[in-house]
């Protein structure tokens, strides 16, 4: 099928990320069952669901940390073709380092707690092959400034920082190489409400300034509503409903989604 020259961009654009029919079981437990997802460049996809619904597993698959039992994953990037789940360990690591940024709920997963904050950001650049000290330092400072990290704590190790600042270091590390895809796994869970709002502000501003494509996993509908354009509702490893944020939250169709929206305190 050919599209008209003057068709709107949303129609002609290839999705950046496509996941088709992934399944993952851990022994008797089915974590993800026949899930598909599509993310277009520049948009924010929210994934919402209760604990154990498979949303974090799905995100880990997008970060190629977890390989599903079957299914395909493609990214519309010049350097990669085909199913990314088939890449070997080395290719996977290079792709993740250069093109995918991730912010974990638990900063211990994403940061070296004993090294300096700027060093944590510099590590990303080092893995990608940067070997000039001055450049490393400058780029690490830029990324930390962009994520609104107080620069007087530049060389403090994350273990001496507050939870909100640790998340900002993680964010700076994730965006240091201007990734094509930014994955956020409950980035503000565990922070108090005011800090949470500040971190969300930063994320929102970054998204608007840089048009970063994001996938945001959260169980907090407020977070999803603030940041996401589209939302996928997951339950017991399956997607029960997907659509625009306003549409899903104003007019939920699936009984579980209705329950979720109404259960908001």
């Amino acid at each position: 099928m050919t599209l008209a020259q003057n068709a709107p961009q949303l129609v002609t654009a290839q999705p950046l990320l496509q996941i088709r029919g992934v399944n993952k079981t851990y022994g008797p437990v089915t974590a993800v069952q026949d899930v598909s997802a599509t993310v277009y460049a520049g948009e924010v996809l929210g994934i919402v669901g209760e604990s154990g619904s498979g949303k974090s597993t799905l995100l880990r698959m997008m970060n190629l940390e977890e390989i599903p039992d079957n299914g395909t994953y493609t990214l519309d990037l010049p350097e990669v073709t085909g199913n990314l789940f088939d890449l070997d360990r080395f290719e996977r690591r290079m792709l993740c380092a250069k093109r995918i940024g991730i912010v974990y709920q638990n900063p211990h997963l994403g940061l070296l707690m004993g090294h300096s904050s700027s060093g944590n950001v510099a590590e990303r650049l080092l893995v990608a092959g940067e070997r000039r000290f001055a450049t490393l330092r400058a780029k690490a400072m830029d990324a930390l400034a962009a994520s609104e990290f107080p620069l007087d704590r530049l060389d403090a190790p994350p273990r001496e920082l507050s939870g909100g600042m640790q998340q900002r270091v993680q964010l700076a590390k994730a965006i240091a190489l201007e990734p094509a895809l930014l994955l956020l796994d409950e980035p503000t869970t565990g922070l108090d409400v005011s800090v949470q709002a500040l971190v969300l502000d930063t994320l929102k501003r970054l998204q608007q300034e840089r048009q970063i494509t994001m996938v945001l996993v959260s169980h907090d509908l407020g977070v999803i509503r603030t940041l996401a354009d589209r939302v996928m509702v997951m339950r017991r490893g399956q997607v029960v409903e997907a659509g625009l944020v306003d549409q899903i939250f104003q007019d939920p169709q699936h009984p579980y989604t209705q329950q979720l929206v109404h259960a908001k305190l």
Binding site: R89, E123, R132
Partner: protein, 306 residues
């Protein structure tokens, strides 16, 4: 044919202390290590009559390489006369009948801890270095299974992170010994706790260097004419210790690696670390014929190697 005709007669001890199967394993692992420069080869470290951590790895390699004609030199922190060096030297001579020497130029096999001699080694000499911690990735990756994967992938980015941290904290690279070095452009090794001063001596050297860690059970090697490049940032050059201007208070030698000897008044004297080279210097000054060989450093400067 009887079984006894196939076995060797009983002896109270095998030659060179280690039994033949142990030596065979060590030889095979050394060949492997030479074939893949800088790559750590695991081996079954045997018991020797010495505590782990006192050079058992180096001793096992020396015991395997030794024969009755090998001239052995043993160095501990540059000195031939420290207790550890003297004991190892005496042990090697006793179990193998090999002659010993203090002269670097005269030796065929040099077992060393913490130093490479100042005089240039030749192609027919073998240097055995004792290694306490063979894994350069340990400070940045405590999980050894993952560290092995990182070696496999040549994933060494985090080694520079260590250097970055040192420059950020102290304004310069503080790594004084065991400076991580890239061997043959592929494997990063820790060149045992030799000072930064000695690392350039391994680059394109004529001699074979075997590094062995007894407690950690790893052998690796730098074959002759192999590139050994200390890890550096492109814009922060590698610097050796600033010993080029120091003078040895005993021998008057200048421009070599020195030991600092603090004095009661707060000042410090310096003494040449390679003790036998210092002795040669003194002998020459006293009118004996000059027995000093060509040195890697001249006037405190490392000569340029290709």
């Amino acid at each position: 044919m009887s079984l006894s005709s196939l076995t060797k007669p009983w002896e109270p001890m095998s030659y060179g202390f280690l039994d033949p199967s142990a030596k065979r394993e060590l030889r095979r692992k050394m060949l492997k290590a030479v074939a893949v420069p800088g790559c750590q080869m695991p081996y079954a470290s045997r018991e020797v009559p010495m505590a782990r951590g006192w050079g058992t790895g180096g001793l096992q390699v020396s015991l395997t390489l030794i024969n009755p004609k090998t001239r052995v030199k043993v160095i501990d922190q540059g000195a031939d006369d420290s207790v550890n060096a003297a004991s190892i030297r005496r042990f090697l001579a006793r179990v193998s009948g090999a002659p010993t020497t203090l002269d670097t130029l005269d030796a065929d096999l040099i077992q060393s801890r913490h130093r490479i001699p100042e005089e240039k080694l030749r192609a027919d000499q073998i240097l055995v270095l004792q290694v306490p911690n063979p894994e350069p990735l340990r400070p940045v990756e405590p999980n050894m299974s993952i560290a092995r994967q990182m070696h496999g992938d040549a994933d060494y980015g985090r080694m520079w992170l260590q250097l970055y941290e040192q420059i950020v904290r102290s304004g310069r690279v503080m790594q004084g010994a065991s400076y991580p070095s890239m061997v043959n452009g592929r494997h990063v090794m820790t060149p045992s706790p030799i000072p930064r001063w000695d690392v350039p001596k391994l680059h394109m050297a004529k001699h074979l260097t075997i590094l062995s860690a007894g407690r950690e059970k790893r052998i690796f090697a730098v074959p002759p004419f192999t590139r050994v490049e200390p890890l550096v940032f492109d814009d922060v050059p590698y610097r050796v210790e600033e010993h080029g201007q120091l003078t040895c208070y005993r021998s008057g030698a200048e421009g070599f690696f020195m030991n600092e000897i603090p004095q009661p008044d707060g000042s410090a004297l310096h003494e040449i670390s390679d003790s036998e080279y210092g002795v040669k210097h003194i002998r020459t000054a006293q009118g004996e014929p000059d027995a000093r060989g060509e040195t890697w450093y001249q006037n405190g400067q490392m000569e340029d190697t290709p």
